[in-house]
Subunit: 428 residues, 4 copies
Amino acid sequence: MSTFEQFEQHESNIRSYCRSFPVVFNQARGAELISREGKVWIDFLAGAGTLNYGHNHPVLKQALIDYIQNDGITHGLDMYTDAKEKFLETLHRVILKPRGLGEHVAQFCGPTGTNAVEAALKLARKVTGRSNVISFTNGFHGCSLGALAATGNQHHRGAAGVAMAEISRMPYANYYGDNVNTIAMIDKLLSDPSSGVDIPAAVIVEVVQGEGGLNTASAEWMRKLEKLCRKHDMLLIVDDIQAGCGRTGSFFSFEGMGIKPDIITLSKSLSGYGLPFAMVLLRRELDQWEPGEHNGTFRGNNHAFITAAAAIEHFWTSDEFAKSVQAKGKLIKERMQKIVRKHGPDSLFVKGRGMMVGINCPNGELAGAICKEAFANGLVIETSGNHSQVVKCLCPLIISEEQIDKAMTILDAAFAKVMAQDVNSAAS
Amino acid sequence: MSTFEQFEQHESNIRSYCRSFPVVFNQARGAELISREGKVWIDFLAGAGTLNYGHNHPVLKQALIDYIQNDGITHGLDMYTDAKEKFLETLHRVILKPRGLGEHVAQFCGPTGTNAVEAALKLARKVTGRSNVISFTNGFHGCSLGALAATGNQHHRGAAGVAMAEISRMPYANYYGDNVNTIAMIDKLLSDPSSGVDIPAAVIVEVVQGEGGLNTASAEWMRKLEKLCRKHDMLLIVDDIQAGCGRTGSFFSFEGMGIKPDIITLSKSLSGYGLPFAMVLLRRELDQWEPGEHNGTFRGNNHAFITAAAAIEHFWTSDEFAKSVQAKGKLIKERMQKIVRKHGPDSLFVKGRGMMVGINCPNGELAGAICKEAFANGLVIETSGNHSQVVKCLCPLIISEEQIDKAMTILDAAFAKVMAQDVNSAAS
Amino acid sequence: MSTFEQFEQHESNIRSYCRSFPVVFNQARGAELISREGKVWIDFLAGAGTLNYGHNHPVLKQALIDYIQNDGITHGLDMYTDAKEKFLETLHRVILKPRGLGEHVAQFCGPTGTNAVEAALKLARKVTGRSNVISFTNGFHGCSLGALAATGNQHHRGAAGVAMAEISRMPYANYYGDNVNTIAMIDKLLSDPSSGVDIPAAVIVEVVQGEGGLNTASAEWMRKLEKLCRKHDMLLIVDDIQAGCGRTGSFFSFEGMGIKPDIITLSKSLSGYGLPFAMVLLRRELDQWEPGEHNGTFRGNNHAFITAAAAIEHFWTSDEFAKSVQAKGKLIKERMQKIVRKHGPDSLFVKGRGMMVGINCPNGELAGAICKEAFANGLVIETSGNHSQVVKCLCPLIISEEQIDKAMTILDAAFAKVMAQDVNSAAS
Amino acid sequence: MSTFEQFEQHESNIRSYCRSFPVVFNQARGAELISREGKVWIDFLAGAGTLNYGHNHPVLKQALIDYIQNDGITHGLDMYTDAKEKFLETLHRVILKPRGLGEHVAQFCGPTGTNAVEAALKLARKVTGRSNVISFTNGFHGCSLGALAATGNQHHRGAAGVAMAEISRMPYANYYGDNVNTIAMIDKLLSDPSSGVDIPAAVIVEVVQGEGGLNTASAEWMRKLEKLCRKHDMLLIVDDIQAGCGRTGSFFSFEGMGIKPDIITLSKSLSGYGLPFAMVLLRRELDQWEPGEHNGTFRGNNHAFITAAAAIEHFWTSDEFAKSVQAKGKLIKERMQKIVRKHGPDSLFVKGRGMMVGINCPNGELAGAICKEAFANGLVIETSGNHSQVVKCLCPLIISEEQIDKAMTILDAAFAKVMAQDVNSAAS
């Protein structure tokens, strides 16, 4: 009898991560995942960016247990609850107001990133009366049909089974190289009444493309994009689902860039505890929703309100946490650059921002082999990118320097082993 | 300062249920919701069918707290976990196998009903190579774009902002009256090569239409529908998101009807505790998914695996619970029929099945006024239906007979008061 | 060398009618087609309804030759020409004004029926601001993508290669039998805010469905449909491309029914001479087109203006022609009923209106065999209908009684021969 | 009473060219248009490229009159006729075979350019099983819905009223300047599995963009495009509706470029006489059409077969005509360059190829004013381009040098007058 019999017999073939990490996990703490047999892995995947504060953070855990213990509302549709009120107040006080977003209101859509994107696109279309939306090469925004239209990945798009209209695909920052101004290209298309690109309701953009391979937009590019939005009267939607909640060294990925998005989508690490939760932040003037127009059973997950409020209170009332993220990001980047210099200065390079960095390999097979080797030695790590060629570090932001050191040592060895094999196999 | 200041200032206008029930709740137990001020309401809404086992059921609560306490995996993407294995095993043993669905496998999609529908439609289109899908008048399947195409409600559809193609809308059972065979109508269209209705990949249907106003399909109609699917080589998708998990007196709403759906969507009460959770059950032969083809961060909510497995174990290993639901459903229906006879034998009538029943009023204003009056007297209850004309009972299945009695007394009084006003206002 | 070598080698496989009538024609007069070898056929196809006034009618022919001889404008885009002015004046004076359509204006779109439908649908969507359009089972409106969406035929639809959205398919008059009120069905759907049928911009309908198999709508049904349009604020588009220009015994197929369509499409016999020509007639208040918004090189075919004006002047200034059509229609119907009584009173029946009538056979194979036999004996005739089961008479309206007699004798013999074979083959 | 009363009262507001040229024409010969009052204009519009052989060319005229006189088939659906056979034979012998296109077969679709594009796109999608199609900025392919999706012009697109999906818009040759390789850009998108651009069935391209403003693709760019099509297994569709039939100095606009399109669309000047006519040429291997799959009443206009065959025979059996077109194109270009040097060397420039050339003005107002002034002095000429900024010469190819001289003198004077006013108004 296989260890994985229940899964293999009763779960659909669509399961995926379990194929890269063939072990049954049963506990997790901070930056560590623990298997049923008690083996420990350092977690450099962190729920694909969902566990910025680590697994089962004790402060959040206590708040959640207390809430459950006390029979707090678990499910209340979108009724008013203590938990929601506390979250709204905390969010506004600690996050939004200090960042100049005090006039943005929160929409609690279904508790997934794709649902937040669906809601954001609907609202943009409603408010502007236009249908077309610009999204970018290598962008990832979700797999439900409205969001999937904006997603670039062919593997996911191919499963749609129907046409996905009203998206104009544009080249992301540096898509055509560092010297090509992709904003100017878009501007030309939008300024040309016979370009064939209908004036969009909105632009949806990730400041760092997580699934797309850690491509980054500069502050300058983002400012130009915002200016373009103003010029053509389009809304600027920042999809901060993976890059937000501290991942890049600030709560939002666009902080310090001098822009103010009209709409922001958040999910993944928003609950702080890995609980399903998502939110759309929108400028008050755009709040033209009618009650219940975009609906769903699980909008407003109260357990998540509790842990999210606790996380914001715990991590974001001072700038200490942000600074530690920046420092650790720097440390990881340095370690990665060392790996690059050592194992492939000509074929490898480091990509990304903050604690959302990775090493670009010549191809996906190599990157996959490296992750496999790392897993065998105690490190859970995955690839991203259009050819799955980027070994991506998404470790919890609360990881210790010791754990980083240990993980980077495993990674170094994995690169050493796999790159050597690759050279040998190329030579043979 | 308003009691609701935080909500009114920082939450989007899209919030809806809180407008019907303007109070801040902070605790809930079984069939009761408790406000911050300690006032208690009987809950006849139950998270729109999400809390079949009541609020914070002690058995589930203990299992969840134990799991959290022990640092069980909260978020693990779709990796193998103890919690998932236990759920899969329990589901198969207690639910699927005894019901002849032992060959169905589970797909853990994003933790919302709409995501389960998106996944089901994608799979049907992939497997059949066709695009069109039949959905029914008054059907509700979710608000993300793929599911929204199948949803009938114009309030939600109007927010799409783009065309939603590849759905053929067909009349539900008895839509044109009890004597019109709507299956024969559909058969005529599908058998006619110039009807303009392209042969569909699938039919998606609710056995009881929850949002649509408690319209029910008979066993005979469902059997005819299944036969129609076989004749035209279409897949039969039963959306059991609201009517499933015991609501109609059996785990699935279609049990005992002599049919075997190709695909079943479940969500709402599946976790048993109000946690976001959804699942697609599909015949093993249809499992042509490639790994990760339909994706999402929160597919496989481990907290939900824990409570769902506990709920299945607790409630479904014997037929006692099902029988009690049937008995309570009968009781509620009788009480409702009494209300009808008393307050409007000509204008009111009872609709629905099991513990998914309601009273149809002449119009939505009246039904809304009745719910408002009931709320003022300690009962949370809502309307449904195409004109919001059905006062709908979706109370927890674990409700006591005393609570039912109390609720029905409140409802009786509300009908008395509002119907009297209505007569007066009509007379004046 | 095959007689058809040039065609078989250099023309696409898509050619179709030539397969039913494998002969090279080179002349035609009135109701007769003449092959290169001088063999004569009576033409009961008449360009699928394009040659209501027969082939090369001498009056029209002379007008056209004079115009060409005199170097009249052949192609002038949509510039003002003498020929267009004369057509507009004649159309208004002889056709529109006397029929209470004096306020309708003419749009000269591309010279094909499908283009007229494209224009009509665009205008309806523009004027109402809505996208959805109702079209009917078995309706045929053309094969360009906008019109094809409204067309029912799967053979044509299957070639689209992309989704065709924003059409709601409804049952035509008597689609579900004589006792089912399909207008009431549509009304129920449109009055139900969660039916899933979005309120349409327009309804597009044929009063007699030519390609669909000579299905007819009664005056009562058309009046109800018009009323439904007014109730739900939809435009009524009558597609009179095949049934118009006298085919049913009056210029428009809806005359005498007490309705006034908002938009009328005409083509086929409009030029009177078989020249490409099409027109959209629209109520002046709906004329919200901006100059050139719907475009095309051949809108306004001046040769067609000349023959169309001559045809209108020649045939429609008195009611003599219309009466002769009615009389001939009656005669053909009687002859057909005789055939039915003789060869298959239980399996055959007569369908249609005016000179747009046919005999419904049990299946398409039989109907095809009858047409083939008739062709072998000097009659060009084709099938129509969802199963190609209707032997359809679309002879020129100017046909003589002698020619009708001759054709019906051929048809009678064809039925005799084929029905006998069919009985034999069924018996063996 | 206005001269234009009949038009103003009875024709839709959509009429457009008549607004630029407010006169009623009634005769035309060669390169001249003659008004009802006998005033003569040189025609530099030529039916927007439909009258390459001039108005009412005597050879074609005689052939047409003879055919009509002799009761040749006018309308025969797609039945075999003498006229069609002759056309097919002539086309193959004189045009296709000598140009290496002897294996291409002809599809006679509806007699308009937009219908040819609809057919071409359907076929490409059918053959490849893919839906997406690449079309280019500033491309114009027609106004029926399938073709309109590929058209860039917002004025036309805005009238669609529904979404037009499955087109990826790409930058045409030199769209981003002479130094930007737009083919490389497209290749990058198609080679990137998460670019979001689904692999297309085909590319549709004009070698010279007529409506788009006389933008030209070089032979090198076209060769790269063909190579790109082969690399990604896409079909190459050349839309030669405006640039074909000799306009650029060879029968097809792509001759001598070293490419062989899979599919070619022709219309406009194909009949040679201004008659509605269109054709799709397709590689025999792609001829996977089923009989009648793409349908239409006027496919195969026999009058047009006659004039088209006569035109091919008359103009294309030697290379004399092509050489004269090249010479005249050179002459016109030189005269235009003289105008540019004289009136605005900094603000004006010449665009285009062969006898499809024009002067680019700083803006559409200026270009419009110049055309208006030219019209007042005896020259019919129009603008094109995304801002209507190009004064475009599309005179008949058979125009005499004297007429060119006369026209260019009028144009010179118009530039002189309008440019002077413009300078004055800018100065004031």
